[in-house]
Symmetry: C2
Subunit: 452 residues, 2 copies
Amino acid sequence: MDFDTIRARLDKLLAEGRKGELRGALTMLNEVDIAEYLETLDNEKVLMVFRLLPKDISADVFAYMDNDQRQRIIEAMDDGEAMRLVDDMFVDDAVDFLEELPAGVVKRMLKNCDENKRQLINQFLRYPENSAGSIMTIEYMELHRGTTVGEAMAEIRRTGLDKETIYTLYVLDERRKLLGTVPLRKLLLAKDDTQVESLMNQQFVCVHTTDDQEAVADTVRKYDLISIPVVDNEERMIGIITIDDIVDVIEEENTEDFERMAAMFPSEDTYLKTSVLTLVKNRMPWLLILMISGIFTGIIIQHYEDILRTTLSGGVLTACIPILMDTGGNCGSQASTLTIRGLALGEITPHDLGKVLFKELRVGMLVGALLALCGFGIAVFAFGGTIGAATTIAIALFFAVVMAQVLGCVLPVLAKSIKLDPALMASPLITTIVDVGSLIILFMVAINVLHV
Amino acid sequence: MDFDTIRARLDKLLAEGRKGELRGALTMLNEVDIAEYLETLDNEKVLMVFRLLPKDISADVFAYMDNDQRQRIIEAMDDGEAMRLVDDMFVDDAVDFLEELPAGVVKRMLKNCDENKRQLINQFLRYPENSAGSIMTIEYMELHRGTTVGEAMAEIRRTGLDKETIYTLYVLDERRKLLGTVPLRKLLLAKDDTQVESLMNQQFVCVHTTDDQEAVADTVRKYDLISIPVVDNEERMIGIITIDDIVDVIEEENTEDFERMAAMFPSEDTYLKTSVLTLVKNRMPWLLILMISGIFTGIIIQHYEDILRTTLSGGVLTACIPILMDTGGNCGSQASTLTIRGLALGEITPHDLGKVLFKELRVGMLVGALLALCGFGIAVFAFGGTIGAATTIAIALFFAVVMAQVLGCVLPVLAKSIKLDPALMASPLITTIVDVGSLIILFMVAINVLHV
């Protein structure tokens, strides 16, 4: 049954006010689908339907709803009801939500919760944005040194329902230092009187609260983990990050790379929710910088104007400027994309600069030669250029392509090695540099080949 | 301890031939790190160190090694040893590996394994590339209708070690139709004589063997799953796909989008492992197509050459052509990137075309007006242009920007609605179209404003 059919049926029950049946129908759906359905409703209906949800799933549905709707629901609730809802959420989801609320509302909500929870939430709200601390959760299963398998299983049965994952257990010492991890699988296969320490994996991988979420995602991806422990500066266990949140981080970081590579500042929200003004603000700075850098190309063209006007070139050089510039830009874009992506996935490191450069140099010479040939043909047959003019264009094309490939691979690697985001060294910036370079080459070659 | 230190210690043990100690040191490492270490060794040493590994982890290490090394190891082994290794791998890893081997080697290996396994592997090798079937594994925990919790736990203890995940259990009927899923967590909290069917989640999400891996990844991401069941056309359970493989699919699909958006054919291998010739082959087709399309811009320039030469424009128009074209290209790149990304993440659907278009139109007019103003200034102050020439450029810039934004959002959405990959409608293609459009606008405006 597809979403439209489900929606039509629920809408019908809602319109006819058959609340009992609607409640029944909702319990047949996945929390994600319920949240999706709620997004289609207007404000007053959302709250009404939300209150129909069974208590045990309402916090989950709430976590999947969009922020505007969540805020409206919270505002319509009294303080007690709102706090109970936040209480039912996992700490990472609750903090995500509270971060987006106006400070006044957060204060009002925190006033109503107990001292421990308040301290905890405040601590979470203090972790730097995009740090491991800001995306972790504290609902993990911890075991103490000396626990037996039987005791551990009893503990899981007692408290496991409230944990975000019970599939990896964490063994801590008296000072809460993480000693090792035990997969639940091993626990199930062991005898009841076995000490959990003997099952423990001591070669566990962990991250620190202040680590960047991108580095965390890289680690989880590399080691195929489903959760990763987070420790503080004294190696004390603080929380865990689960794979579902890592998947979101991966997509977020990819989106940021896509945006940076298209010369934009990354946006906080999804496209449809970002205002026109914010979109303009994210796009203008680089557009302006690149446009102003374009002055150099203009100055070069003005300086060598005579060459363009000479009858020797017959207007062919001017006609070929767009082809020269676009081809250079496209080649730079190809080389930089592969390099930036390779760096992001860890397939290329700054140590590989030599290898990458040698490869792009060979690719550049091959591609450059082929495109130069093609450019020669275009100059002669499409634009009726002389052999001299066509040769000029072919040579300029060749060098523009090689230059674009080299810059395309060198600049991102250099950026990485000085801790800048390689994605900044992408097509738009490289195109602008290559434009200047290829025009200079074009005119130098013209002077020497056409003798103007 | 960082990787370089680990490597130095292992290298020392290896050089001094202290095999026992080396073996001991290796068992202290994660499988992923061992594979990374093996990649630093030359051929003969790899095989020697590989054979030192304890049997229970060698298949895991093998799964993390790179293909060339795996092939060399297999070739150095006799048939029996090779087949035992493949036997120890999960079916999805084994198939991944066999797919990369030369047909002759696969045949030789399959000859040595038993009938069941051979049939199974052959079936897997037949699933279309990038389908759910090609990435799934069959090592999941299945339960039958009527099983009690106690029986299920006993079954997990008996066979759980060989399963890729035991954290979700699948309840099947007599015809192997999937009835529901049971998280291990629920099983642990339930009484031994409870029927598993009563704990079962019937609102499970599943995919079909022929579904594209990208769609599978979208589903897993949307529902925050750690594994997803795969069924055939008759809804019979065939296998599962686990989140670690989904994470790889997500990165692979992102890489493909990055490559397509930079006008390249996606490559099969990582950058450093792709040959120069393959890189050239992946890059040339679009470069040629875009270059040949550039003929149109050239023809337009040749046709209106008189306007560029007139003293009224004083060479300013020619000097501004690169700025006009790059700015148009950059704006098209920004709009298309956000649209393509929004479509890929499901944040934008073809139904939203109206909303997206209206938004880009407003962004385009604002950005266009600001850039036109800036362009006017550049024409006057940097290039010494007349008010007339500067006005011409400003107007052309405004329309080029608006056109680029509109095409940048409309083309990817249209591509999606006719089932083409939206990533094809990215910056290089849009730049080429916008080039033609903005030049035509430039000359039309020049004729009307400058009266040439």
